[in-house]
């Protein structure tokens, strides 16, 4: 029931994840951050099997950071997402695969373009203008289909995201304790304090 959404606009990518950690019928935590910074300009949000998610995300994070220190150079979001896809595809063919789905938002400083990738635990990678995993897509894709423009400003993107969150709050049967919103653009990654 985690919310995990991403919208790519003209100069940035906006990523939102729900703050609730639930187990069975209880909410354990209401300020969870389901994202990890992979590098200065690449952010990964994740959902899936509890435990797998953080383990996988931090493993990826360590590897990307190792790369950046070794080469003194940041991998492009496309290269990062390809690496993540390969790791999931490799894991799928082991005895106990990671059950993790991710969104990767990044800003390619070389081509000066925002990028958004959706990757699932089967190793399917797609580049998309807006993306979600799990239920959140069912509630929000109609809104996104209707209002989304690829040349939107970040501000308009946030407005659109707000519509989506309001819809989720209205229609979802459970309380997901709100969302953490982060923006990736040429300046790097920052948190949006109030949507």
């Amino acid at each position: 029931m985690d919310i995990i959404l991403g919208i790519k606009v003209k100069d940035s990518v906006i990523l939102a994840t729900s703050k609730a950690v639930t187990r069975g019928i209880s909410v354990l935590k209401d300020d969870d951050d389901k994202s990890r910074e992979l590098s200065t300009h690449t952010l990964m949000t994740f959902t899936g099997e509890a435990g797998d998610t953080v383990q996988f995300a931090e493993y990826i994070q360590a590897n990307i950071q190792l790369h950046d220190i070794r080469e003194n150079y940041e991998l492009s979001p496309n290269a990062v997402s390809s690496f993540v896809r390969q790791e999931l595809a490799k894991s799928l063919r082991t005895r106990k695969p990671f059950q993790v789905n991710v969104l990767i938002g990044g800003y390619d400083i070389k081509t000066e373009s925002p990028e958004l990738y959706q990757i699932d635990y089967l190793g399917t990678k797609v580049s998309l203008p807006y993306a979600a995993h799990g239920y959140s897509g069912f509630y929000t894709f109609s809104l996104l289909d209707h209002h989304y423009r690829s040349d939107m400003t970040t501000e308009d993107g946030l407005k659109l995201l707000k519509l989506c969150i309001e819809e989720l709050e209205r229609r979802m049967p459970v309380d997901f304790k709100g969302v953490i919103v982060k923006i990736v653009d040429k300046e790097g990654i920052r948190v949006v304090d109030d949507l």
Binding site: E71, Y73, L75, S76, N78, A79, S82, F83, Q86, K110
Partner: protein, 256 residues
């Protein structure tokens, strides 16, 4: 003979802190056919001289000094060809693995470092001799554009604007230092490479069957492509650079 005790195994320091096996490998390379690399503003040239052992040898079928590693990188070899091919195979697999993982071509230095690390391993772990090869790598990547590297049996690698390895390198390097300009164009680099090679060759004349030649440059739609020249094309290059003719003169004077 004082060094006899230390040179039998690669994994041993001599009392002066030297690795004799590595130094001997370097020595063997200094007898190998010369290879030259020159980086121009708009591309890179690799040229190498091969030793012709017999006129009956089929020359046209394969290169033995120049190898493509992937779409963006070519190497020139000086030293033991058999050793080189092992490393080249490894490099090709590594480059494709990188492409598969990241969906991007491998940066030149990453591949150079990978091969150099393998070479280093053979100087530190027991029971092995070092690789008897030096490479000149000519490559291109998005980050740093055209790049020219060398690596040697010790596992060291260095970046260059123009460099030679193999026999007569010091003579070749002096010539390159005099003639190389930072704003040299590929056309000029081709000529410089051939001239340097012809002036430093041990044989009386530089003929097309002794030369291997390759370039890397950007073609249409900014795509990098490499070309390994065919014997016919080398013939043309040599006469265009005025080397074929000059060498005939040289022979005449030598006969007088």
């Amino acid at each position: 003979m004082g060094s006899r005790r230390y040179d039998s195994r690669t994994t041993i320091f001599s009392p002066e802190g030297r690795l004799y096996q590595v130094e001997y490998a370097l020595e063997s390379i200094s007898h190998a056919g010369t290879a030259i690399g020159i980086m121009a503003e708009d591309g890179i040239v690799l040229a190498a001289e091969r030793k012709v052992t017999s006129t009956l040898l089929e020359q046209d079928t394969s290169t033995e000094k120049l190898y493509k590693l992937n779409d963006n990188i070519t190497v020139a070899v000086a030293g033991l060809t058999a050793d080189a091919e092992i490393l080249i195979n490894t490099a090709r697999v590594f480059a494709q693995n990188y492409l598969q993982t990241y969906n991007e071509d491998i940066p030149v230095e990453v591949l150079v470092r990978k091969l150099s690390d393998i070479k280093q391993g053979y100087t530190q772990h027991g029971g092995l001799r070092p690789f008897g090869v030096s490479f000149i790598y000519a490559g291109y990547d998005e980050r740093l554009g055209y790049q020219l590297f060398t690596s040697n049996p010790s596992g060291n690698y260095t970046g260059w604007k123009a460099i030679s390895v193999g026999a007569n390198t010091s003579a070749a390097q002096t010539l390159l230092q005099m003639e190389f300009k930072d704003d040299i164009k590929l056309e000029g680099a081709i000529e410089l490479a051939l001239k340097t090679l012809s002036k430093t060759t041990d044989s009386s004349a530089l003929t097309y069957d002794r030369v291997e030649f390759a370039t890397i440059k950007k073609g249409e739609n900014n795509k990098v492509y490499q070309k390994i020249y065919k014997p016919e094309e080398i013939k043309q290059l040599l006469s265009k650079a005025g080397i074929t003719k000059k060498s005939e003169d040289g022979e005449d004077t030598a006969m007088n």
